[in-house]
Amino acid sequence: MTTTVRRAAAVLVVVVGLEVLVVAGHGTPWRGEWNWTLDHLVGTTVLTGPAVGAFAAWLAAGERSRATLNDGAFRGWMVPARMAAVAALTGLAGFALGLVAGLLATATVPHGGPFAGWFLAIVPLLLACYAALGAIAGHLWPQRIVVVLVAPALFLLGTAAALGIGPNVLRQGPTTGSLAGTTWDAGVVAFQELCLLGVTLAALVVPAVLLGVAPKVARGVLAGALALAVVGVAGLEVGGDYSFVSSGERPSACAERAPRVCLAPSHRRSLGPVAGQLQRVGAVLADAGAAVPATYVEEIPGYRGSPGSGLVILPAHANVDRYPLFAASHAIALPAPCPAWSAEKPPPESAFAARELIASWVQTRLGNDQPPVFSPEAGAWLRSAPAATQQDWVVAAFDALRSCRLDQIRLPWDE
């Protein structure tokens, strides 16, 4: 085993450890969404990228102790590039291991949703860019302190966009919550990749410029690389750096129960728990005489449901294999995708309160004596109003919600 391979193997262990750290920090339990999986795997570069950069800096700084030997050699100017390549390939090997593990993990749980595999192309560019920046830092300032500072510096560089400094390029995920219904905007990613390519090339050609190798060509490549980066940044500044667009995913993963529940295939893993809970709370309303829609469909970005169907909104942080009664009782109280819910002028406050009260009532009927209530009046009504009165009001309010007559809803104590 060569020295380089031994060093790379040691760094590989670190890279894989950082991947586990990132994914474990965001990804338990495993969601089963293909794009979420990709996002989290690519998102590991938030930590592995700076680590790769530090490795490249260390290698390049070590080579400067042989500057007399290297600088006059035919390929001496390529030494930082070679060190960057070693570091980037090490990072890429770690990413490949993580990718295999992540895809297997997704395949072994109920899974689905779009798979934007093309997005993975950004990973080699990200790692190359981190490595190139690290290598050139180690080449220009071959001090131990620089090597130590490279990783935090690159990490901070990645977070610059979050602080409002320039567009986001280096930080790709991991995104909090689900990515159902969304995918990456190819235009934004292309500009980011252009930027990464430009910065990488520019960093790698700097030694050629400094060593006077083919000065015209080197300066030309440097100018061209910087131009690429500028075009990328300009594209992101003009068009925005928000990376996600609608994927066109529809709630087509259905559980044939009463009510029928359809979620985005990305959320297939949640289908059983969600359908089970909706069946439970739906039965309460149906027993009371409410006309519960036959189907509840999930609201996802780019899709707001179909007339005649109820809406399911999965909380962003919901546990994928457990759907709480609280969430289910609120979901069942959204029996129609009324345009008013998302209109510029919101529906009357009483419509929101009616949903809350129906949800609380359903919970009391299922044995929760102290459901969360939004007002003292609601609590008092649930405790003291006759059961028949409560049931009549719930059926009427549910019917109004289902037919989108939101402005006609009156709360019991307002009547």
Binding site: T3, G62, R66, T68, V213, A214
Partner: protein
């Protein structure tokens, strides 16, 4: 008063250095230096600070001189720097190979750096290890080698790309007598086919193997002739010297003459 002597350059010089000048801050270390080199061993002598290493670094294109031209085997470094770098190799005085690496691995890496094509690297490494008689240490870690062996690795790396001009900067510095003899033999052998410039501040390392001696002082060539001519120059001074060889006597005399100017 002794005047510098010059030999006529060879009919087809492999290396032509013209008007080379360089300063470090205010100190002139190479002063309008012109020389021609052909095959054989050229000894470059001078005291510390005479400009030997600067001259070698300029010829190796490690350093960009303030003025002057360098042509190696027909390639002008200003027009074709990489072309020159293909033809020149330096074994630097400060040679710090990565201690954890094995000899063969390190040489293979340097073969890449010196532009040896991938297919030829293994053969090139085997060849130079044979030349420096380290074939049996190919798998040894560099940290385990003696000082003399490390110097031979240094020379081996310089030979990887079959250079037309081989620059050896104080290769015998710090070696014991046996290792010095071994390196001398090696350099003598290399001079049969290559233009070798061997720098040293010790005359005894140079005289036995050099075909020509260049003496530098304060960035100028103060002597350029054969070792025997240097010896003759110093022969008359031996009596006055305290145990000096003719070459050392000449060296001192030349320095004194230059210093008095």
């Amino acid at each position: 008063m002794t005047t510098p002597v010059r030999v006529q350059p060879g009919a087809v010089p492999w290396v032509a250095v013209t008007g080379l000048s360089h300063r470090y801050d205010d100190r002139l270390v190479l002063d309008d230096l012109t020389l021609r080199l052909s095959s054989g061993v050229t000894g470059l002598v001078g005291v510390n600070g005479a400009g030997k290493t600067t001259l070698l670094h300029a010829m190796a294109t490690v350093l960009r001189p303030d003025a002057g031209d360098l042509v190696v085997d027909g390639q002008d470094y200003r027009r074709d720097l990489l072309g020159v770098r293909r033809r020149v190799a330096l074994a630097p005085q400060v040679f710090a190979p990565p201690a954890g690496m094995r000899v063969e691995e390190f040489l293979t890496y340097l073969a890449w750096m010196r532009g040896v094509p991938r297919r030829e690297r293994a053969a090139a490494v085997a060849r130079v290890l044979d030349v420096v008689e380290l074939t049996d240490r190919a798998d040894s870690r560099l940290a385990s080698l003696s000082g003399g062996m490390v110097q031979r690795v240094n020379i081996a790396q310089a030979l990887l790309a079959d250079p037309a001009l081989l620059l050896l900067d104080e290769p015998m510095d710090g070696l014991d007598p046996e290792q010095r003899v071994r390196i001398r033999k090696l350099v003598d052998h290399l001079g049969d086919t290559t233009c070798v410039v061997l720098s040293s501040h010790v005359m005894d390392d140079i005289v036995p193997i050099a075909d020509r001696v260049l003496m530098l002082d304060a960035g100028r060539i103060v002597f350029d002739d054969t070792p025997s001519a240097l010896g003759e120059l110093g022969a008359g001074l031996v009596a006055a010297g305290a145990g000096l060889s003719p070459h050392e006597a000449a060296f001192l005399a030349l320095r004194t003459t230059i210093g008095a100017r």
